[in-house]
Symmetry: C2
Subunit: 430 residues, 2 copies
């Protein structure tokens, strides 16, 4: 029987689920894996909050840092679930690693921004800094990439990495509601907070996760600045409905690949063909597609958030620490990581979906099509909504393949026309 | 740099792909994982066959057993890809393990039938017997279960584990062709042979794979006799089309769970709702859904066969051998494995799809519905094909929930009716 002493900092939904799970499954875990997991200390902002377990059974640390030396006992593993980008999360993790304590965290923001430094410290101290819970909730995507298919050359990873935005897009479609209405609903139901929803909706949360995936997929240093980020705040119900008529669903897609030895990492809304699994990963599901030199596609789908699925990932990291002797947190030695440059995506060719709002007057459609032609936008399909209540009506267009840079130039000119609203929405088609 | 000396027995599609991959990626693998993979010997039935690599670059063993001591060198890893259920495959693997040589194999039939003995031998000799390539081609399902989510309590695994039958069912639907026509096509195109297709179509190949999944999911001894097996040979194009009208697709589903401390492992055709990912894993894809106490669903989809994807799994096993020091092939110590009994499935309740062929005469539909009622089969939907060219016409029915045993009794009585063909097709609805 191997004994592991565990401390947990942060007792929100995930932290509480970890405590519940260890309480409930301890004898199962002992029998199955010969591991004895002992929680030797807890810490959270508010000691007196009502919880799903009896905190009196555990030692309580007044500050998270106290967990690292609780009644003169040192934990084997610190679980960091406070979730700050820096501050106490960063200080705690750094202290733990420097004291040769393994760290398991779900903190994608901290790792995307300070991971390189922290992984260096972990390696120097010969301990693990594991983060399965930081990406895609219960889907074991980190272990899949760094253990299961590590000898594959990954070509591209693309996926849905944020459950909240996926839930919003699904609900807009199913209930035919506007973005703002669905977001308000979600906030009122407690699915997301003001602070969280900014990170979610703006695409930043997904980009944090993509930063980690990109690093382990391509052996690059962790660098959040490599990301192109665009959120879902401008997606309208017309966009969603027209896309569906054309056989697509709009998803917030995070994708990363290496082009010309540079990293292209992008999180933005895209139109995905309905016959692809990614288009059918709805509600709060996350999903990831991996293309390698050996696998045309390996697709994983599962719960992207929630206490229990994320706790499953925390436990899988504990299991890795118990089983493995190499403690290579990212799969690589930090010294071998490549410092990639950011790929200039303006030359990437794609089909695009455009929404142009124009003043509702006669002859406007023929005018706009002749301008599109003049400005080099080759139209595949076009749809005009006649019955808009606003004085601007949307014209929805799909283009043939064109370079992003050329499209932007042309769109700018069209936006300058007097009867056209200058905010033209552009969504790439996968 | 860690050096691993490798021998390969069997140079079909997969074996050749392994050689190609190691040749092509050796410097990539060295840089990425500090592993030097050296092929020190090859063996195959026919030395003179044209191959995708230059066999003169390698030492050739006249018999597979000679690989274990080739020019006085002992390999670290033997890769067994001969694929016999017993015979030379079994003898070779056993010899290798007894000589403390790790074994990597894609041989599901051998492991499903003799795995318990072989895993015991591996454990005794402190070497690994790994088999990622034996189940679901390039999908790393074995490592997912035994490493990534090992501390989950698995409730149920269900999936599509045979690419050939999935390809046949998909092609029947898309091309509106009969089972026999599609099978003949597949044989002529070399996708499957007479011998293979019997194992594929009869459900045995999928059941071999399910035997291994069930064992690692529930910590049971490997026991092929626990399987219920039914193939796809009786599926007609009417079945497929009617199922689709009802919102289902017919798939050969392998599923395993524990009920009342007994194992229910079943491979049979089932109707799967079109809104489930499993229903949309078409052509030669494999797909697996896992339900646990912590994950409502974890879904993996990918190529279930083919040289390169399967070679990817072989390499992932080599990587595991190189990285891991515990060499626990199935995740368990063999002594802790449970000897499960087979669950009696006749009491499982399900909705069912029935195809009853009746003589085409007036009033037959009303007669059959009154008999169904009399024999306790509660009908949900019913469809009669009027324009059949045969003198028997199919009546297609979906039932409400009923126990399999009760349904079988009733169906037997209906089959005894003079105007009913006694072969009534029964397919459960998921």
């Amino acid at each position: 029987m191997k004994k592991l002493k565990i401390c947990i900092a942060g007792l929100g939904n995930v932290g509480s689920s970890v405590v519940n799970l260890i309480e409930k499954n301890s004898s199962y875990v002992e029998t199955k894996s010969h591991l004895n997991l002992e929680i030797i200390g807890l810490s959270a902002k508010n000691k007196n909050k009502e919880r799903s377990f009896d905190i009196k059974k555990y030692k309580w640390a007044e500050t998270p840092i106290d967990l690292l030396n609780i009644n003169d006992a040192k934990p084997d593993i610190l679980i960091e679930l406070i979730g700050y980008e820096k501050g106490i999360s960063y200080d705690l993790v750094k202290s733990a690693l420097n004291q040769k304590i393994h760290v398991v965290t779900g903190n994608k923001a901290m790792l995307a921004l300070h991971g390189q430094e922290l992984f260096n410290i972990a390696e120097k101290n010969k301990v693990s800094l594991l983060f399965e819970a930081a990406v895609a909730g219960g889907i074991p995507i980190i272990k899949t990439i760094k253990n299961n298919i590590f000898l594959n050359k990954i070509k591209k990873i693309s996926g849905i990495l944020n459950g909240t935005t996926n839930y919003i897009l699904t609900t807009m479609e199913y209930q035919n509601k506007s973005f703002n209405d669905v977001l308000e609903d979600a906030k009122q139901k407690g699915f997301t907070s003001d602070h969280e929803s900014k990170l979610d909706i703006g695409g930043y949360d997904a980009a944090h996760k993509l930063t980690l995936l990109s690093s382990i997929a391509f052996g690059g240093e962790i660098d959040f600045n490599l990301n192109e980020i665009e959120g879902i705040q401008n997606i309208t119900i017309e966009d969603i409905n027209f896309a569906k008529q054309l056989g697509y669903r709009i998803k917030l897609i995070s994708e990363t690949c290496v082009i010309d030895n540079k990293i292209y990492s992008s999180t933005k809304p895209k139109l995905i063909s309905l016959d692809k699994p990614l288009a059918n990963a709805n509600n709060a599901l996350n999903a990831i597609n991996i293309e390698t030199d050996q696998l045309q596609n390996l697709y994983l789908e599962g719960e992207g958030a929630g206490g229990l699925p994320t706790a499953s990932s925390i436990l899988s990291d504990i299991f890795e620490i118990a089983s493995n002797s190499e403690f290579r947190s990212t799969g690589y030695k930090t010294g071998q990581l490549i410092e990639y440059q950011k790929f200039d995506s303006s030359n990437i060719e794609s089909k695009f979906f455009l929404r142009i709002r124009v003043i509702d007057q006669s002859g406007v459609l023929s005018k706009i099509t002749s301008y599109l032609n003049e400005y080099n936008i080759s139209v595949e399909k076009i749809l005009q909504f006649a019955d808009s209540k606003e004085n601007h009506i949307p014209i929805l267009i799909t283009t043939h393949k064109i370079k992003m840079s050329e499209l932007l130039n042309s769109v700018k000119k069209i936006g300058d026309l007097e009867f056209v609203d200058e905010n033209i929405s552009i969504i790439p088609i996968e």
